[in-house]
């Protein structure tokens, strides 16, 4: 398997892992929480890095996860206050976390790899260079393994709790009445989303991961009203756009992730256009 195939495979796996929680977020109308999480996990990463002084450590993952969940919790807490709507709470929390992280990087870690540009934009091209090697045997890029694991977690979680998730997302009150505990599933969904975002962080960057999460899922929501079909559509769209974007990027020598998001956006708007064009005559 050469390096180009590996990049393509990573792109596909990342895109499909991201889109699964995305379907639920879009259905629930809280899609922008992914934006907040993806920005604020930087704070956890920076603090964990300053504590353990190493980039490849489990602590960074844990720090990122904690700060992601902290964002979710803080937003929930703030939005219960009298004059704060949920979007305002989101808009308040994540710039704060992000700017604290940037200041910390400026102050203590300006010399190291935690470069703010790399964090924001990310790049797929470099992912195959971190190899997963056990006893001298090369098992492929680390990112491929970690994203596959996350994809596996997402698929298993969604198939196991499909019914519960569906009920608690479309009708939290009903879910409550049949003792499904919608709050629990809300936070479980947030946890899965955080893990996915952290995993996809160094491949696609903190802003474009939002596109991977939201756009294919939203496109699928346009195509169908059945949750199972939406999930399948979203998977299909994200994989095919990843391949198309990769080809576009190779053809034009541009950024791969940027090209994938470009294709995703174009697909969304063309489907939107086609659907409305078809609707009008009838």
């Amino acid at each position: 398997m050469n390096i180009y195939h590996e990049i393509l495979l990573i792109a596909c796996v990342t895109a499909s892992a991201c889109t699964l929680p995305g379907v639920f977020l879009v259905a629930r109308g809280i899609a922008l929480i992914s934006d907040a999480i993806s920005h604020s996990i930087l704070l956890g990463m920076v603090i964990a890095f300053l504590c353990v002084h190493s980039i490849n450590s489990w602590w960074i993952f844990i720090g990122a996860l904690i700060s992601g969940m902290l964002t979710v919790g803080l937003t929930e807490f703030l939005s219960h206050a009298k004059y704060i709507k949920k979007d305002a709470a989101v808009g308040l929390v994540f710039p704060l976390f992000f700017s604290i992280a940037v200041i910390l990087i400026n102050l203590y870690a300006s010399s190291i790899h935690l470069d703010t540009d790399a964090v924001l934009l990310g790049d797929l091209v470099f992912t195959p260079f971190h190899r997963f090697i056990i006893q001298g045997l090369d098992y492929g890029p680390i990112t491929l393994w970690s994203m596959s694991a996350i994809l596996g977690i997402n698929i298993i979680g969604i198939t196991l709790f499909y019914k519960e998730l569906m009920v608690s997302i479309f009708d939290p009150d009903y879910a409550h009445s049949i003792s499904y505990r919608p709050n629990f599933f809300h936070y479980a969904l947030m946890l899965i989303t955080s893990i996915t975002i952290i995993g996809a962080f160094d491949t696609v960057g903190s802003v474009l991961v939002i596109s991977f999460i939201i756009v294919p899922a939203a496109t699928a929501h346009l195509l169908s009203y059945n949750l199972a079909y939406i999930l399948l559509h979203a998977l299909g769209i994200s994989i095919s756009t990843a391949i198309a974007g990769y080809i576009l990027a190779q053809y034009t020598q541009g950024s791969i992730t940027g090209a994938i998001t470009l294709v995703q956006g174009i697909v969304f708007f063309s489907i939107l256009g086609i659907l409305n064009y078809r609707k009008k005559p009838s």
């Binding site: 879009v26 710039p95 400026n106 470009l262 708007f269």
Partner: protein, 353 residues
Amino acid sequence: MIGTCLVATVNGMLGCFTLLRQQSLIGDTLAHATLPGICIFFLLLQQKSFLILLGGVCSALLGACLFFVITQYTHLKKDSALGIILSFFFGTGTYFLSFIQKLPHAQKAGIHKLLFGNASTILEHELIVIALLCCGILFFILQWWPELYISTFDKHFSHSLGIHPIKVDIVFLILLAVTITLSLHLVGIVLVSSLLVAAPLAARQWTNNLHILMILSVIFSCIASCLGTYISSIAPHIATGPTIVVIISCITFFSLIFGIQGYLHKFINKRKMMYQIKEHTMLKNFLLFNERDTDPLKLHDIKALAAIGKKSTNKILKSLLQKGYICNPSGTMWGLTALGLKKLQPYGKKISL
């Protein structure tokens, strides 16, 4: 510093409207949506000038239009629409940015600064342009004040007055796009949304009046931007944008806790209310005890009162004594006064029935 103050003022004013219209995150979206415009104009012009920012405004407006299209023509929620616009435009921006990075020119650094912003690099002629534009925006806000004011609070009413809501929306979005593009220099793409959200949110905790809200929010954002610029000019490594954001968020959290409508106030109010209810119950208990007796001013033992009044009987009795509703002629015996009886008049009938 003058530049940051000006931009902060305009942001503070417009932020009030976005907050009240529940569109706080539109700032974030439009800020990200400026990137492709800026990149494309840079690729076309091959130099850094103010025309690039014009491209930013254009693509932000395009983003706003597409946002309207999505919310009008699909069942998708506002939130998802914002997310789609944000990521699509930013992704396109990064795609073009990767071409810029391959250009031999050294001036691409200017574009990179837009991501995070740095007020210390502002030049004098840039400052003049910013000042002029800010004055223009202020003028527009004042010119359109009644329309903005009414349509923010009651869209249908404003429509019935002959003000077309979409027209107001468009004017508002143009103002917003220009403001955000200006702010990019100072705080960068990622943090613009905080300027729009935090200051009005802080001001919202202190007042219910739109005029005062505006003034307070402008004051807050000016304080934060002045302090932020000052700190980042002293400390060499700290960027301006994040400093401003941290300060303004601190102000907001402070207001959330101590503001007139904040948490602390709510808590104290709740305690006061509970205490008042307890006092009332205690007074009513006096009357209840007196039901069988002909003399309403009969004295009672404290133990009997405590049996009904539950906790903190002593404290409540003392505060009632201070207000003159009851008297304490001897030791543990308490009784109503004439004033207390008068206070209980409205309850009297109910209880005796």
